[in-house]
């Protein structure tokens, strides 16, 4: 992007007065710096929907927001083809701030000062891009959504919709009741993140505990039998490996 083109800022905060304040300050910055407001969003989901179209160069992202917090939104933003820079805003979060300093992640403390905002926006083009592993470290708790890039847009999949996750070569297939998505993440890390929600039935497959309807015996080509999982909203039946057979007992009894 050319250096003299105006810097476009997306403001994300769930509190209206907080957004107004940032808008006023950006108006002040605009007197000295080519800068314009690309849009305002009140939730993380709204921000992700707006992002590709509003062509923001930088997102001012509040950390504490309902439904999906800023640290998770930032993770989904990284799935975009050309993710914008992210500057976090927060009123108080002693723990997170220490981690931000360690990883040189940019943040602004509320109430935001004109000088700090101006400095942050002036050097935003030279900012190192955020790294996903750093973001995961800043927020080790499970995400509320998985996300995939579909034709340049971020598609969010609520974690509750997951039926199963299956590793295939480079990708992990996410199956929901409606359709499939391809995710560029590791199955082992997904298993760790959603430990309470999913269970491993095979070396390459995790299923949502909620989605289990029951277990059946199936016979393969050699005439040997094994267990398969019958799912609630998906017709496909998934094989349980010998090593994971104990889950038939654990979950079969509860059903």
């Amino acid at each position: 992007m050319a250096g003299d083109q105006a810097l476009r800022v997306l403001i994300v905060d769930d509190e209206t007065p907080a957004r107004n304040r940032v808008r006023d300050l950006i108006g002040d910055c605009a007197l000295k710096l080519p800068i314009e407001i690309a849009g305002e969003a009140a939730t993380g989901r709204q921000a992700l929907e707006m992002l590709p179209a509003c062509e923001a160069d930088v997102v001012l992202l509040d950390i504490r927001m309902p439904d999906m917090d800023g640290l998770e939104v930032a993770q989904h933003i990284q799935k975009l083809d050309e993710p914008p820079a992210v500057i976090f805003t927060t009123a108080y979060d002693a723990y997170a701030l220490k981690a931000f300093e360690v990883h040189a992640v940019d943040y602004l403390l509320k109430p935001i000062r004109f000088g700090r905002l101006f400095d942050a926006l002036s050097r935003v083009r030279t900012l190192a891009p955020l790294r996903l592993d750093v973001l995961r470290e800043l927020k080790p708790e499970a995400r509320t959504h998985l996300s995939v890039n579909e034709r340049g847009r971020i598609h969010l999949i609520p974690v509750g919709d997951i039926v199963f996750l299956k590793a295939e070569l480079k990708y992990v297939t996410v199956r929901t009741a409606e359709r499939e998505f391809l995710l560029e993440e590791s199955l082992a890390k997904l298993e760790q993140e959603f430990l309470g929600r999913v269970v491993r039935i095979h070396r390459n497959c995790l299923i949502a505990k909620e989605a289990i309807r029951g277990f059946e015996r199936a016979t393969d080509a050699d005439g040997e039998w094994h267990w398969v999982v019958v799912l609630k909203n998906v017709a496909e039946k998934l094989a349980v490996s010998r090593r994971q057979q104990h889950i038939v007992r654990e979950f079969g009894r509860a059903l």
Partner: protein, 335 residues
């Protein structure tokens, strides 16, 4: 009626409080049992010994409690050393009265001086006990001020509120002024000496000011329903009971939701008690409980110090709501 709960100096307990009366009964009767056990451990003899002792002790004890309850207000108006002297005088008078009245009933009673010594000893033990107990509980009052600044008023609330006021200054200066006034009122109360009971209406005004500031930030996401039709306006309450609970309700119940949520506050009188019930929406996921417990713990301690066993605080977490139910004795203010 004013209750002087001075954290640094000693004070007599409130002799009209059921909890205090119960404590006295248990300690004196415990001492009787110990005295009887010293003489014998054989069950039948022990019973006889206890009956003999009780026949002497109970009239003194009951007459004492009645007298103290009757003179409670007067005793509390005296400075502590004079109050102690008055208390001792009352006890000796009661003992003497029972001694002469009972002279005809009981045979083989010892000299009056012997009973005086026993009464003095027991009174001394009780005064010492209540003094120690008051000192043990009073840090809760001092801490209330400290915690108010460190934990109860979350830094989160302070900075977000200032941020919201800043956003108003250009567009709506008058409203900004008003919010700053509310904010300073709130902090004035938080930093004040909060050891005296206050009229419940004052606590409600403070709560409304606090909610007004939060409303500015949260807009229609924060909805509040007050039900105070059956509230006695002259009731007394320890200060800063409602506000920290409301702050919890906003932080855990309203802020984590993008859809509007309702906080309901119901205050009503039920005979000699006042009930305060606070309810907010709640979802299991929001898991910052540390601040919540700290505020609840402090409120519980202060209720115990002011009202002993006559006050209670109970929390119930249902599927989608969280409720705090406080019961305090109905004390009238204004006198």
């Amino acid at each position: 009626m004013s209750i002087n709960q001075n954290a640094n100096a000693s004070a007599l307990p409130n002799f009209r409080n059921l909890g205090i009366l119960l404590r006295i009964l248990v300690i004196v009767d415990g001492a009787c049992l110990a005295a009887a056990l010293l003489k014998t451990s054989e069950p039948l003899a022990l019973m006889e010994e206890l009956i003999d002792l009780s026949a002497l002790v109970q009239p003194v004890l009951i007459l004492s409690l009645l007298t103290l309850a009757a003179t409670n207000d007067w005793l509390h108006r005296l400075r502590y050393p004079y109050a102690i002297a008055a208390l001792v005088a009352i006890e000796l008078a009661v003992t003497t009265a029972v001694y002469y009245l009972g002279h005809n009933v009981f045979k083989g009673m010892g000299a009056l001086e012997r009973y005086w010594v026993i009464t003095l000893l027991m009174t001394g033990i009780l005064i010492g006990y209540f003094d120690l107990r008051g000192r043990a509980l009073s840090p809760a009052l001092t801490e209330a001020r400290l915690q108010a600044l460190q934990a109860r008023i979350r830094p989160h609330f302070l900075f977000n509120s200032i941020n919201a006021v800043l956003s108003l200054i250009r567009q709506d200066p008058r409203r900004a002024e008003h919010v700053l006034e509310d904010l300073s009122d709130l902090f004035r109360v938080l930093m004040a000496d909060n050891r005296q009971l206050v009229q419940i209406t004052r606590e409600i005004d403070l709560a409304r000011q606090y909610l007004g500031i939060e409303q500015l930030r949260l807009g229609e996401r924060l909805q509040v329903e007050w039900d105070t039709a059956d509230m006695p306006a002259d009731a007394l309450i320890p200060p800063l009971v409602l506000q920290p609970l409301l702050e919890n309700a906003v932080y855990h119940g309203i802020e984590p939701r993008s859809e509007p949520g309702v906080i309901t506050i119901r205050i009503r009188r039920d005979g000699a008690r006042v009930h305060l019930v606070l309810r907010n929406p709640y979802r299991e996921q929001s898991d910052h409980h540390a601040g919540n417990r700290m505020a609840l713990g402090n409120i519980r301690e202060r209720l115990a110090l002011h009202f002993d066993a006559e006050a209670s605080i109970k929390t119930t977490a249902a599927d989608d709501s969280y409720e705090v139910h406080i019961v305090i004795p109905y004390l009238k203010g204004g006198a």
